[in-house]
């Protein structure tokens, strides 16, 4: 077909190569080297990315000065057919920073402001805080776009736990009491209403959730989601620990540790496959047997997948190791990493890892929605977490797989013309195809941007390669330009390929099963950590509030994440506002004083240049 | 604030003594009281020793008196103007329209010399 002889619009992302003042046009080079000549029009207007709750940063007046060579810019353009060619005219532009190589998201307090805003929004939506106190009786999983409460009265363990994670992380970065209160009350509520203590087996598992109706609670033992029907999916048991574990890092509440250990015993006793390694993805709700015929209904009998193997580390296990420092958890981490490295790569057939397996690790390519498809975010999540685990159990294979993924993914999983990362694509190309087909749509999901951002940030932080910096910046700039909801707060969950928010159907909800305030806050917490501590070598302050009975031996471990050995030192500690000296600078731990009430701890970590 | 106005004559010149605050409230009354006096004799002395405050409305009354006197080529002299009031009049350009003296006697002599 000849060049499209009609007008269409799109967003082009790239770096200015030169500006022609007379012709009022500038040339742009995309991430993968494509050239565009873009013309300014009298009505072109521009802004610099602004953070949540920050005022609109109009810079229309300075477009001319800002379009210097090397400046990164998003130009929403209209393509007009003209003289047998296409003339591209910019309508609206977004600059990720005020100058070439300058990015607002690299400002030391950018992510701290963002997590504070997101956490406050969820307190407002879920509890109408500060006008009313935080009461999880009012918690709703389904939140309308503007955060209003609509529809039924379902409380899912998974979304509560994820929001608790967000609140705990927000407290660790900001020290604001309301966030810690939300985290602790949430953890109490989960223990009181969602925990199933199996006295026979002496272990714990968690209800999928409760359906509150009048004075009674309908307990939902099994998952209510189609693909996990009539089973106890391991993925939900794992994420039930996310919030409580992050809260444990702040308070050291021994009851939380007990619940976590009892749940891990469930994993080892019923989900783990000791012969052929790894963990089964589902077990029978009554017999707890992974091979139960009852699971055939969901095609989940004796199956293993990415979630049951890979989700431990990011959901709770790394945070558990950070809080306890115990070797058994480090071993557990290495075990999951080894399993991934051994079974997931499938590079003869596809650039994407294999995500679903039978018991003997042969590839299951006909399961439910997954079939032989790849979730781009899972590949990057593997790369990100292998690099984390590598920092405590150094292993060349981990780094090799992480780097291989990081090198392969941009071509097949990211949008090199507009920036941002895609959702689910076919793992293999059909004959003649050059692009991996989008399974449902070419939209971009907020949590997959997170995986890409964290993968490339930690790779740049640890290995310092320029390529990682480029992909990291492009993914982060796209996220901060288009995913922040400046009207109602929080983030949009989906945007079109060109960055416009997609608000139809269940994408309108701010709090559905896996969303609530988890991925957006985890992104803030770890981006602040990696950018400040690993990349820009800026000091950071973290907040904790250990209970009198918190932490065995009264040792508080303050490392925000698993960082390369010796890359950061603990340089200053304050307890209840007064300087405190009993701490191990290299070991990043504090010998807490005995005390009859909670103590407020402020720990300042300084990167070693 | 109410003001008191007494009229007397000294050597055939009308002397009006005013006490209190001359502001938007009291100015119209003061004006109504003094204007007719200019019918008989075109010159006038205003003894303002016990005037504690003069707002812009008050200044305008004085200026009106000056204009009326001028139209009958008479003159208006002010006696005992408080320092702050004199200063305000100077800064807003009102002072130069009037002959100013410390006491009524001095005001009288300046009027007689002109």
């Amino acid at each position: 077909m000849a060049i499209q002889q009609y007008t269409y619009s799109d967003t082009i992302a790239g770096y200015v190569t030169q500006m022609d003042r007379a012709a009022r046009s500038f040339d742009l080079k995309t991430s993968d080297g494509r050239e565009f000549r873009i013309h300014l029009t009298p009505t072109t207007y521009a802004r610099i990315s602004q953070n949540l709750e920050e005022s609109y940063q109009d810079c229309t007046a300075r477009i001319g000065q800002m379009l210097q060579p090397g400046q990164h810019v998003y130009a929403y353009c209209i393509f007009y057919p003209q003289a047998g060619d296409v003339r591209v005219e910019a309508k609206a532009m977004v600059f990720p920073g005020d100058g070439p190589g300058i990015y607002r998201h690299e400002e030391p307090d950018w992510w701290i402001k963002q997590i504070r805003s997101i956490a406050n929004s969820y307190l407002r939506w879920q509890f109408n805080y500060p006008h009313q106190s935080i009461d999880y009786r009012n918690y709703r999983t389904m939140l309308h776009l503007a955060g209003g409460k609509k529809g039924d009265y379902l409380q899912e363990t998974d979304t509560i736990s994820r929001m608790i994670y967000g609140m705990a992380s927000a407290y660790m970065l900001t020290g604001e009491e309301s966030f810690l209160e939300a985290a602790e009350k949430g953890t109490e509520y989960l223990r009181a209403h969602m925990r199933f203590f199996d006295s026979d087996e002496n272990l714990i598992y968690w209800y999928h959730g409760v359906q509150v109706s009048g004075d009674r609670e309908q307990k939902l033992l099994t998952s209510e989601f189609g693909d996990d029907y009539d089973s106890l999916p391991m993925y939900e048991q794992i994420y039930a620990l996310a919030g409580p574990t992050q809260t444990y890092r702040l308070t050291g509440d021994p009851r939380i540790l007990y619940d976590i250990e009892k749940t891990i015993e469930l994993f080892d006793k019923y989900y783990k496959d000791n012969e052929k390694e790894g963990y089964f993805s589902h077990i029978d709700p009554i017999s707890l047997d992974p091979r139960s015929p009852l699971l055939d209904k969901g095609n989940n009998r004796a199956k293993k997948n990415w979630n049951s193997v890979g989700d431990h580390a990011p959901a709770y296990l790394i945070n558990l190791w950070l809080a306890t420092g115990e070797d058994k958890y480090a071993d557990f981490l290495a075990y999951t990493a080894d399993t991934i490295v051994t079974h997931f790569p499938d590079y003869e057939h596809s650039p994407f890892v294999q995500e679903r397996f039978f018991e003997d690790w042969s590839h299951d390519t006909t399961w439910g929605w997954q079939q032989n498809r790849a979730v781009v975010g899972h590949n990057l999540k593997i790369a990100w977490n292998l690099m984390r685990i590598h920092s405590i159990r150094p292993n060349a294979d981990y780094v090799a797989l992480a780097e291989k993924i990081a090198q392969l993914m941009p071509e097949v999983g990211s949008d090199r013309v507009r920036n941002g990362w895609y959702d689910v694509v076919e793992r293999v190309l059909a004959p003649g195809e050059e692009v991996h087909r989008f399974v449902w749509h070419d939209r971009k999901a907020w949590w997959q941007q997170e995986q890409a951002i964290l993968a490339y940030l930690i790779l740049q932080g640890c290995l310092g390669k320029a390529d990682y910096q480029k992909h990291g910046r492009e993914a982060t700039a796209f996220y901060n330009a288009f995913f922040l909801d400046h009207d109602d707060g929080g983030v949009y969950f989906n945007v079109l390929a060109n960055g416009l928010p997609y608000l139809l159907g269940n994408e309108r909800f701010k709090g559905s099963h896996s969303m609530s305030a988890y991925h957006s806050t985890e992104l803030c917490f770890l981006s602040a950590t990696y950018i400040n501590l690993l990349i820009n070598k800026q000091p950071m302050t973290f907040h904790f509030k250990p209970r009198p009975d918190g932490f065995p031996g009264r040792i508080l471990r303050v490392a925000p994440d698993i960082l390369p050995k010796g890359s950061v030192r603990l340089t200053a500690v304050e307890i209840d506002g007064r300087p405190y000296s009993a701490f191990d600078a290299e070991g990043l731990s504090i010998q807490l004083p005995d005390s009859r009430q909670d103590v407020r701890v402020k720990a300042t970590l300084t990167p070693v240049k | 604030m109410a003001i008191e106005v007494e009229v007397s004559t000294r050597d055939r010149v009308t002397v009006v003594t005013v006490a209190g605050e001359i502001d938007g409230g009291s100015a119209p009354g003061l004006q109504a009281r003094i204007l007719p006096l200019l019918q008989q004799d075109s010159s006038l002395i205003l003894d303002l020793r016990s005037v504690t405050y003069m707002s812009s409305a008050g200044l305008r009354v004085l200026l009106l008196l000056y204009r009326q006197a001028m139209s009958r080529n008479g003159r208006v002299a002010l006696a005992g103007v408080a320092e702050t009031i004199k200063d305000t009049m100077a800064v807003t350009g009102f002072l130069k329209f009037f002959a100013v003296a410390d006491t009524v006697d001095q005001a009288l002599t300046t009027l007689q010399q002109a």
Binding site: P42, S55, T60, A61 | L59, R60, T88, F94, F97
Partner: protein, 704 residues
């Protein structure tokens, strides 16, 4: 008994007697028996007049405008029997809150009337306000019957002006000023004799429209002193003189005091130009306070992006929508009000290029506002001066749509003269253009030299002394880690950065100041001097003192004695300019229209060295018929030696029986550096060359 029908109320509300008002008299106008209040808003759904007893925290009454009191989009009402001196008024406007559509109505806010002629709330400069006053800037009523006697704007020809830019508070706030009312309009009146002695015939007052000195005031991180919005480039009300600048501010007589200042200045032959800021308002962006325009008619008053955010062409948060017909009318009303009621002689427009932008921010080829200003009957004789660049990089010096009426701050003059004085290469041909009134910028369509306001320093940037004492800016005191303020100062510290007791360096600095003054006052175009430069005022290297209420900004009058030589030099240079019409021309020389020419010379007469390496130039102003048939007009000659060593300049011959007289030689220390016009010392008749010292300027007068 007054028989006018409209003397009598027709309505009443809670004891207040009312009747419909006249929509044409925007603002608050005293009418027989009462006050006519009129205000317009296109999208407001209802309007309420709110009246306060002066200074009271709560309103005394709120009078909703009956629908019968509305004509079109204008609410108008007469309220009877108000005590003019003790009443303050504001408005509540209701309407949609729909930011994306550009509407930000908020009935909980009491709004300041944009046409308020006097504004209370900051009656005394720097007195901390009550921060939760619901109505921080309050419109008041004034008497408009000031007795101007026979005063009216002076209408001096533009080419005859010598403009003196001053900040009302800085001029006399320093204790050394020795005035009764420091830092006020009255203070300026007290210093009129000084202005006369210096010889300037026009003062350009930095913003005197009401503004809030507490706008984003903050403690100085270094000194703890409060930092204010000191310069005032952020207008709260366009029709009211700043109360805090008046000695009688607390008594509400700032209007009379300011009128008296204008009257006294006129009486001394000094014109008054106001620095007016129409590119933005003090309301900032969507996070700024709602004081007036935003609550009255946000979509009309501001330029908005499609999503309802504020365009930021001014760099100060919002952009006034000047080419919207309603706003254009307000700007015109404002300028006519100041010209008619305050006898103002001219206006200098801050970031004027913005006035030429359409609501989309694109530059208009034929901006309606600039056109209506240029041809307005009341403003016909007013000087209109534009600071012709704007934050939007729309650098228009020379291309500002002028309709033959506008003059411009010539930023190129500033930069080129500075670079020549600093000793940059290739500047000789450039300053030739500047000296003859920048024909390269203003030659086309006959705008002439008076289109160029020549200046080397202004409030923005270094003082003249600092220009030759600092290589780079020292703005640490501004609390922005020295990031604020410009870096293209083209300054030179004469060898040592900042204050020094090295006599050589100090002598050179004085010489450079004299060189600058000499070139400025010899150049065609309208010269402007920054307050204090005539006595070497310093801001210790700070080139952006917008926030300092201290001796960084206050004029230190002790400099008058310490640098009496500089004052003497400046005074005589101004006197020279006033003496010689050759220096004050409406037409570029060399065109057929003028009977005079500029002839360029170098160290060799009749042969200027235009090469890039050249640092020398001489110019001669001469009537074509000078020395012939009874024409005894003088010839003026100025030699510029930018080279660091003395050079002999061959003097061009004069008509027979003319002789050269030495007027000024900046290489010589005072008092030999300059003479009084008419009392120059003659050179020996045989002297055909003159040794001009290094980095010096020599001015000779040729006459019979």
């Amino acid at each position: 008994m007054d028989t006018r029908i409209d003397f009598y109320p027709t309505h009443q509300h809670q004891g207040y007697k009312l009747r419909p008002g006249r929509p044409v008299l925007f603002g608050a106008t005293l009418v027989p028996g009462g006050v006519n209040f009129a205000i317009c808003s296109r999208y407001a759904t209802s309007c309420t007049l709110v009246l306060f007893e002066k200074g009271a925290p709560e309103p005394m009454v709120e009078i909703p405008f009956p629908d019968s009191f509305r004509i079109g989009n204008t609410w108008c009402m007469v309220v009877f029997d108000l005590d003019y001196e003790r009443t303050e008024y504001g408005y509540r406007m209701d309407g949609p809150w729909d930011p994306a559509a550009g509407h930000r109505f908020d009935a909980s806010k009491i709004l300041l009337d944009p046409y308020a002629k006097a504004i209370g709330g900051r009656d005394v400069w720097g007195k901390p306000p009550d921060w939760n006053d619901p109505y921080p800037h309050r419109a008041r009523l004034i008497f408009e019957d000031f007795d101007w006697e026979d005063d009216r704007p002076l209408e001096k020809p533009l080419e005859d002006l010598v403009v003196y830019e001053l900040h009302t508070r800085s001029f006399t706030r320093h204790p050394s000023a020795g005035v009764k009312h420091p830092g006020t309009y009255a203070g300026i009146i007290a210093k009129i004799p000084y202005l006369n002695e210096l010889g300037v015939n026009c003062v350009e007052l930095m913003p005197i429209f009401e503004f809030d000195e507490f706008e984003n005031s903050r403690p100085n991180p270094v000194t703890g002193e409060t930092m204010y919005n000191y310069w005032g480039y952020s207008t709260v009300g366009f029709f009211a003189p700043k109360t805090g600048y008046a000695a009688t501010g607390p008594f509400g007589m700032q209007v009379d005091e300011f009128k008296n200042l204008v009257k006294e200045l006129h009486r001394n032959g000094i014109e008054v130009i106001l620095d007016v800021v129409f590119n933005h308002t003090a309301e900032g962006n969507e996070q700024g306070p709602t004081l007036s325009f935003r609550g009255i008619d946000n979509q009309t008053y501001y330029m908005l992006t499609p999503e309802g955010y504020y365009f930021n062409f001014s760099g100060c948060g919002n952009t006034l929508n000047c080419n919207n017909p309603v706003v254009r009318m307000m700007v015109l009303d404002c300028l006519r009000y100041w010209a008619a009621e305050y006898h103002i002689d001219g206006f200098r427009f801050d970031l004027a290029a913005i006035l030429g932008r359409d609501p989309w921010g694109a530059p208009l080829p034929n901006p309606p506002l600039l056109e209506s200003l240029a041809f307005d009957p009341v403003l016909a004789k007013c000087k209109l001066i534009a600071e012709a660049w704007d934050a939007g990089g729309l650098y228009q010096v020379g291309s500002f749509p002028a309709y033959g009426r506008w003059a411009e701050w010539n930023g190129k003059y500033r930069d080129d003269i500075r670079r020549f004085l600093k000793g940059d290469e290739g500047m000789v041909p450039v300053i030739a253009e500047r000296i003859q009134g920048s024909p390269d910028l203003y030659g086309w369509n006959k705008r002439g030299p008076t289109a160029s306001i020549n200046f080397i320093t202004c409030h923005d940037g270094f003082t003249l002394y600092d220009q030759f004492a600092y290589n780079h800016k020292h703005n640490e005191a501004n609390g922005e880690q020295n990031r604020d303020g410009g870096d293209d100062n083209h300054s030179w510290n004469c060898g040592v950065e900042g204050e020094t007791d090295d006599t050589e360096v100090n002598a050179l600095r004085k010489r450079m100041i004299k060189n600058a003054l000499a070139i400025l006052l010899m150049s065609h175009g309208v010269p402007m001097i920054l307050m204090g430069d005539e006595v070497g005022r310093t801001q210790r290297g700070n080139n952006n003192t917008y926030c300092h209420d201290n001796d960084l900004n206050w004029f230190d009058w002790t400099l008058l004695e310490r640098n009496a030589d500089l004052f003497h030099f400046a005074r005589q240079m101004i006197a020279l300019r006033k003496t010689h019409p050759l220096l004050r021309t409406r037409e570029h020389f060399g065109t057929s229209a003028t009977q005079a020419d500029i002839i360029w010379h170098g160290t060799q007469a009749w042969n200027a060295d235009w090469s890039p390496g050249s640092r020398t130039l001489a110019c001669m102003f001469r009537e074509r018929q000078a020395g012939q048939a009874g024409n005894t007009s003088p010839v003026l000659y100025m030699a510029l030696n930018g080279y660091w060593d003395a050079l002999p300049f061959e003097l061009p011959e004069l008509p027979v029986n003319y002789r050269w007289h030495l007027f000024a030689n900046t290489a010589l220390p005072a008092p030999h550096d300059i003479y009084e016009p008419g009392h120059e010392t003659p050179l020996e008749p045989y002297q055909h060359s003159f040794l001009v010292g290094g980095r010096a300027v020599v001015i000779l007068i040729g006459r019979p």
